[in-house]
């Protein structure tokens, strides 16, 4: 593996981690929004608060990690994507800001009115953010981001691949969140809530699967490079994702909620990996390859040092935090 590809791979690990960990946090906004009026939804909203409260900031940092490696390792392509995709990125950013701020504000709201206002803001922005980030991914994967940064600021992300990418991102996040929330609800012995979440997660899973199926033909036509990769080199990952998604649903149906978390993670991680493998060796599809986009090699080595350091100093405490939050002791209120 060349130095450039190693750095790109490290960056892509961040993309996967953000999709899985950050995605589950964003997805909980879907369940929060659809939890019903303040009386009916109180239990679920408390659960959401409790589940993502300790982790969302740490999970959010994966996005920063990706951005920093991108602009440091592949500066020109970063500038190009930022220039062309300014609109969806600003909208995603708006969602990120509103989500984080209103989530924190809601937790300490004094009145129901405030909690409602911040809660709706939190939930809606949690759905919008993955949508717009999905359109960004679609724009890059369908080769609509020229290296000179002068791509069309509208059609670059308002196209079949981007729109399906956005919807699939929202669905995937909600599915992941549903699986984790159901397991959390079961662990805290909330029977009715567990059943309710189980049903809704299964529906979300089926709906997302249907969207993915519906997207196949238009995306393959709209993004030929991606399509060729997904049906060729990345096909095993796509199949793995489908199997893992099916297994998750099956485990949900059989009420094996704790076990369902693992195939859910595999399903999402492998479909995202599939995207990466499919568009390899392009960084911006049809525009610039990973090797050609790379910055100075001394900097790439520096980045690998940083990534190595991250493995040593970030991963252990992160694993500790995630383990704590998934433990019995932390589920007690």
């Amino acid at each position: 593996m060349s130095l450039e590809v190693a750095v790109a791979a490290a960056m892509f690990v961040g993309v996967i981690a953000y999709t899985v960990l950050g995605g589950a946090d964003f997805g909980s906004g879907f369940f929060d929004l659809t939890a019903g009026d303040s009386r009916r939804g109180a239990e679920l909203r408390t659960l959401v608060d409790h589940s993502i409260g300790p982790v969302w900031e740490a999970n959010h940092v994966w996005l920063i990690y990706v951005l920093v490696i991108w602009w440091t390792g592949f500066p020109e392509s970063f500038a190009a994507a930022m220039s062309t995709l300014v609109l969806p990125l600003l909208l995603a950013l708006l969602g990120i800001v509103l989500r984080g701020a209103s989530f924190a504000f809601r937790k300490y709201s004094a009145t129901l009115g405030q909690a409602r206002l911040f809660g709706v803001t939190f939930a809606v922005s949690s759905i919008l953010t993955p949508f717009f980030l999905g359109t960004v991914a679609g724009a890059i994967a369908s080769g609509r981001v020229p290296l000179d940064g002068a791509g069309d600021r509208w059609s670059s992300w308002l196209n079949p691949t981007s729109l399906f990418g956005g919807v699939i991102a929202v669905g995937t996040c909600a599915f992941l969140a549903g699986v984790f929330l159901t397991a959390d609800a079961e662990r805290s012995h909330r029977q009715r809530l567990t059943e309710d979440l189980r049903t809704r997660t299964i529906v979300v899973g089926l709906a997302t699967g249907a969207v993915v199926f519906a997207a196949l033909v238009p995306v393959l036509r709209d993004a030929p490079v991606l399509g060729e990769g997904l049906t060729g080199r990345a096909a095993p990952l796509v199949v793995l994702s489908a199997i893992a998604g099916g297994a998750t649903l099956l485990l949900l149906v059989r009420r094996r909620f704790r076990a369902a978390r693992w195939p859910a993670v595999v399903a999402v991680a492998s479909v995202v990996s599939g995207w990466g493998v499919a568009q390899y060796p392009w960084l911006l599809v049809d525009e610039v390859t990973i090797v050609d986009a790379a910055g100075a090699s001394s900097t790439l080595w520096g980045l690998l040092v940083a990534v190595g350091l991250a493995v040593v100093v970030v991963v252990p405490p992160l694993a500790y935090l995630l383990r704590l939050t998934q433990s019995e002791a932390w589920t007690r209120r």
């Binding site: 940092v61 920093v68 994507a81 220039s83 129901l112 704590l324």
Partner: protein, 467 residues
């Protein structure tokens, strides 16, 4: 006919006419988002250490007052860190969205410090989660230690970010050959000579902002007659931090200024409002430059040379030595710089007086005028910090990377529609500020009313349900 003068005049006019339409809104956008974030960044840097001291005191002395203060501060920090995290993300995006020329050309030169800053922030966010949710779920002695990584990583993160800014002031770690960036040495950027002092200045400033702000909250309480152990302790611990910082800052700032005449002579000339090179140079208090003449300043002879150049005779190089198209907006730079220095001096004198009186057995906390001043100290420190950033950033103009890249070259290809973004951002930042103030005040109100846990009101209160 074209006289040389007219030609120069026309070229200058053309240059400003050719200024990209997106430049001004991009600048203001950056100023807004950076200026807003920097206050919260201060809390990220300084608050954990202050919480740690309070929490440790609570455990060591089995002091319920200290424990309760630490617990409340942890909750406050949860709110502040959340909005700090998202407003920091805004900056990450804006680096690319607003300044693709900078990032595209120099991303691999300046990026590595950001990578380490990212790591530091990662660790800080993880331990924040563990600490906040660890109350009552972990053994106390183990729990309090969870703050320490936050305190350390806050410092590392601040160093890394400031290292990039120091690099923008004194670029290093690359060569320009025929306009191409080569020979990139990212570690030289991370450990550039100027970074440490600039970081020290910011770090100490963060302790001033946070220490004075928190102490001020309890000063308000004392002014309203709440003079219990809770308020005295809540005041004094952050005030000690702020005092040490306020007394150190003038020296750090002064040392940071050494050699500015060689590094960035235009910035120094603007700081000192030196229109011409005078020997010895006066210290100009206040004043503005109007049509090339200094108006309304109070000049103290020789002091300018002494402070800026460490010499009774050496002149501060004047603006007349700087080509016209390389001069920063002088008045804003000068006034911002002096606001910072003035407030800093005032705060240092104030804390010195407090501790001096305390040694003599007089407690100024009994004096209402002192408490009022202590309430004002937090906002004043914040103004000083903002002024300092305005001074150094505006003073570097027209360069985004001093002597290497001009700001107009860095800005993205935007029309004046970018002003809309600024308008929307202003609304959002205002809303976030209001939200934070409302929530924090309501927390304080409920704490005063005797609540401790602050459960969120997702459902109507029970009595309403029964009705």
């Amino acid at each position: 006919m074209l006289s040389p003068d007219l030609l120069v005049h026309t070229v200058v006019q053309l240059a400003s006419a050719a200024e990209p339409a997106g430049l001004m809104p991009a600048r203001q956008q950056m100023a807004l988002s950076l200026g807003w974030h920097i206050i919260l960044a201060c809390f990220g840097v300084a608050f954990p250490a202050i919480i740690f001291v309070m929490h440790l005191r609570g455990i060591r002395r089995d002091d319920p007052v200290a424990l309760e203060l630490a617990r409340r501060w942890a909750k406050v920090s949860a709110v502040l860190f959340a909005i700090g995290a998202v407003s920091g993300t805004v900056l990450s995006f804006e680096m690319g969205l607003l300044w693709p020329g900078l990032m595209g050309t120099y991303g691999d030169v300046l990026g590595l410090p950001f990578a380490f800053e990212g790591l530091a922030f990662f660790v800080e966010a993880i331990f924040l989660g563990i600490y906040l949710y660890g109350w009552g779920r972990m053994p106390p002695r183990q729990h309090v230690l969870m703050v320490l990584p936050m305190a350390v990583t806050g410092i590392i993160g601040a160093y890394c970010v400031v290292a990039v800014n120091a690099w923008m002031n004194v670029p290093t770690g690359f060569r320009l050959v025929d306009g191409e960036v080569t020979d990139v040495q990212p570690w030289t950027v991370l450990f550039n000579q100027h970074a440490f002092l600039q970081f020290a200045h910011m770090w100490v400033g963060a302790y001033m902002v946070v220490g004075f702000s928190i102490a001020g909250v309890y000063a308000v309480g004392m002014l309203r007659g709440r003079r219990d152990a809770h308020h005295r302790l809540g005041f004094i611990v952050p005030f000690v931090f702020a005092s040490v910082a306020a007394l150190t800052q003038p020296f750090v700032g002064h040392v940071l200024g050494f050699g500015l005449d060689e590094r960035q002579p235009a910035k120094l000339a603007a700081f000192e409002l030196a229109e011409t090179t005078e020997s010895p140079s006066p210290l100009r208090l206040g004043g503005v430059l109007v049509d090339g003449e200094v108006r309304g300043s109070i000049d103290i002879p020789v002091l300018g040379s002494l402070i800026a150049m460490n010499s009774p005779t050496a002149p501060v190089p004047g603006l007349d030595t700087i080509p016209e198209d390389e001069r920063p907006p002088v008045n804003l730079t000068h006034l911002a710089f002096q606001t910072m220095v003035g407030i800093g001096t005032l705060l240092a004198a104030g804390v010195a007086w407090f501790w001096f009186q305390r040694r003599r057995g007089r407690d100024l906390l009994e004096r209402r005028w002192f408490l009022r001043a202590a309430v004002a100290a937090g906002p004043l420190a914040a103004i000083a910090l903002e002024s300092g950033w305005v001074a150094t950033e505006v003073g570097r103009q027209p360069w985004i990377v001093h002597g290497v890249m001009r700001t107009p070259e860095a800005v993205g290809d935007y029309t004046s529609a970018l002003w809309w973004l600024l308008g929307i951002s202003t609304v959002i930042y205002t809303a976030m500020t209001v939200g934070a103030v409302v929530v924090l005040r309501s927390m304080a109100r409920r704490w005063r009313a005797g609540e401790t846990d602050l459960p969120s009101p997702y459902a109507p209160p029970v009595e309403e349900l029964q009705r």
